[in-house]
């Protein structure tokens, strides 16, 4: 069942220099329990889109249906109540600087009038869940970026939300911390069954945890589908730009060129590359390789430089195709 439906969502900002169409006719259905990615370049309209989901920004037209309720129709008080079921974490963490980690997690509970003792008990459990049981008394200024985001996650979970919106939640973090935070989100999704929406400009983030992804470009959905498929065969220009940040694809293959090989599913377990080199009897240079775990299937890509000899290159391509690998030449 869809927990969240965006129907024909449009947002126009009226500015001094005319109006900006930040979002145009966005239609997305997000299933309960999934981790859904929204990816796009900077300025694509991602933040506007998340802000429209919990109505921090009022859509110019279109509907936001959350758990069967049409949010755009609600009165202020009712909306405030629904908002506790849609939590949000941010790139800049947005913690209360004058409150300890524990008190930050208590904050949303305080807002809904939960007694102090009860709130603190729950906050402690949540801090333990995010691995910060020992930092309850620390102020945000005393915590690292990753720890701050963990506190923010604990705080977001305090009201038992059904949906967690993450707007560039890892963009201010280093790669190692990013990985740890994404693992935590995956864990939360698995343990608590919370639907997670990941907004990012980084393909690697989507690859790591999103089952499905929508590519947003110029305020419109360019493409929407299963992450591993979009990753393997991006159709829209916008998706291609994100998957191959620095190169376009060509259909012709020639010796000495670069070849991108996409692994998805069981093949990547086998020593394909080694076998190919043995069979053709020519070495290749691996220019770039990245393997990921998308939704528990091994997915990855590798860019190799083919032998200068056209025949040998042709043999390699034949071998890879025979093994059902998706290949494309990368134009330099």
């Amino acid at each position: 069942m869809a927990i969240l439906k965006l129907e024909g969502l449009t947002k126009t900002f009226e500015g001094k220099k005319g109006s900006i169409n930040a979002l145009t006719d966005i239609n997305i259905e997000i299933e309960a329990g999934e981790i859904f990615g929204i990816i796009g370049m900077s300025g694509a309209g991602k933040s506007t889109l998340v802000r429209c989901i919990n109505l921090l920004e009022k859509p110019t037209s279109g509907n936001v249906v959350f758990d069967g309720r049409e949010l755009t129709m609600l009165k202020k008080k009712e909306l405030e109540k629904e908002r506790t079921k849609i939590s949000m974490i941010f790139q800049q963490f947005n913690l209360l600087m004058q409150r300890t980690a524990l008190k930050n997690v208590c904050f949303p509970l305080e807002l809904s009038g939960v007694p102090k003792k009860e709130a603190e008990k729950k906050a402690k459990e949540l801090l333990a869940l995010v691995g910060l049981a020992d930092r309850a008394g620390s102020y945000p200024a005393q915590l690292s970026g990753g720890q701050k985001q963990r506190v923010a996650i604990a705080r977001a979970l305090a009201t038992d939300p059904k949906v967690l919106l993450c707007d560039e939640a890892t963009s201010a973090l280093d790669p190692k911390t990013t990985r740890a935070i994404l693992e935590l989100l995956k864990d939360i999704n698995r343990k608590l069954g919370i639907t997670i929406i990941i907004i990012t400009h980084e393909m690697s983030v989507v690859q790591k945890i999103c089952g499905r992804v929508a590519v947003i470009d110029g305020g419109q959905i360019a493409e929407i589908g299963v992450t591993s498929e979009i990753f393997a065969k991006p159709k829209s220009e916008a998706a291609k730009r994100l998957v191959y940040p620095d190169g376009q694809m060509e259909e012709t293959f020639a010796g000495g060129g670069l070849l991108r090989i996409v692994f998805d599913g069981p093949t990547s377990q086998q020593p394909i590359m080694a076998n190919m080199i043995l069979e053709v009897g020519e070495p290749v240079n691996i220019i770039y390789a990245s393997m990921q775990d998308i939704d528990d299937t091994a997915v990855g890509q590798m860019v190799i430089r083919m032998p200068a000899d056209d025949d040998k290159a042709g043999e390699m391509i034949k071998y890879l195709k025979k093994n059902n690998l998706k290949i494309e030449e990368v134009r330099e």
């Binding site: 919990n54 921090l56 909306l79 405030e80 109540k81 629904e82 908002r83 506790t84 849609i86 939590s87 949000m88 941010f90 800049q92 947005n94 913690l95 209360l96 600087m97 004058q98 409150r99 300890t100 904050f107 949303p108 305080e110 807002l111 809904s112 102020y139 945000p140 200024a141 005393q142 009201t159 919106l165």
Partner: protein, 215 residues
């Protein structure tokens, strides 16, 4: 002499503290209203914002000495007399409240918009954002600015001496201006300087101790 200066100190502190407190009683809500009703605020009310801003600006433009004299009828109405420290509290409050409003506005403006947005996303009401986010997060800045306010009001209170407001300003004026006793005048000025130093130091200490961003 010592007795007179001692009484002057008490009168000055009485005027300063009472006026500052009253100025906050009126100025704090006005400052909050200015922030909240701003076009980018949590509850935009452009017309109300423009009206408050206009009134605040008018009162802030009037030089204190002129205000002091201009509102004598109002002071009489409130206190019954225009003489003495209690009477001086009226013009001091009228002058300081708009000042406080702007100070509070400045402090609250420093609160990160992202934190306010986070609270909104959690379903916080306007009042909850004011009481649980804006004011507590701005606390160190509010205290620093309150120190500036106290010292400014102390300076004004010395001027209130001109119209018989009492306090150290009164003594300094009487001895320096009318009796040509510059020694006493400078002694009184020295006392004022010491009081200002102490207030400043106390204010900064409290602001620092209560700020959890630096610990």
């Amino acid at each position: 002499m010592a007795q007179m200066i001692f009484e002057g100190i008490l009168e000055t502190l009485y005027m300063t503290i009472a006026s500052t407190m009253l100025a906050y009683l009126f100025g704090l809500p006005l400052g909050v209203l200015l922030i909240v009703s701003d076009k980018n605020g949590i509850k935009p009310m452009p017309t109300l914002n423009a009206i408050i801003s206009f009134i605040v600006n008018i009162f802030r433009s009037i030089p204190f000495l002129i205000l002091l004299v201009a509102i004598i009828p109002f002071t009489r109405l409130v206190v019954g007399t225009m003489l003495g420290s209690t009477a001086a509290i009226v013009p001091l409050t009228v002058a300081a409240a708009p000042f406080v409003a702007r100070m509070v506005e400045t402090s609250l403006k420093e609160v990160d918009a992202g934190v306010v947005e986070a609270a909104e996303s959690m379903g916080a009401s306007t009042w909850q954002i004011i009481s649980k986010v804006l004011l507590p997060e701005a606390k160190p800045s509010l205290i620093t600015n309150a120190t500036v306010t106290v010292i400014t009001v102390l300076g004004y209170s010395a001027m209130a001496g001109f119209t018989g407001g009492g306090g150290l300003g009164d003594i300094a004026t009487r001895y320096g201006l009318y009796k040509f006793d510059t020694a006493t005048m400078w002694l009184v000025v020295l006392v004022i300087v010491v009081i200002v130093q102490i207030l400043q130091e106390i204010g900064l200490r409290i602001a620092k101790v209560t700020d959890n961003r630096t610990r």
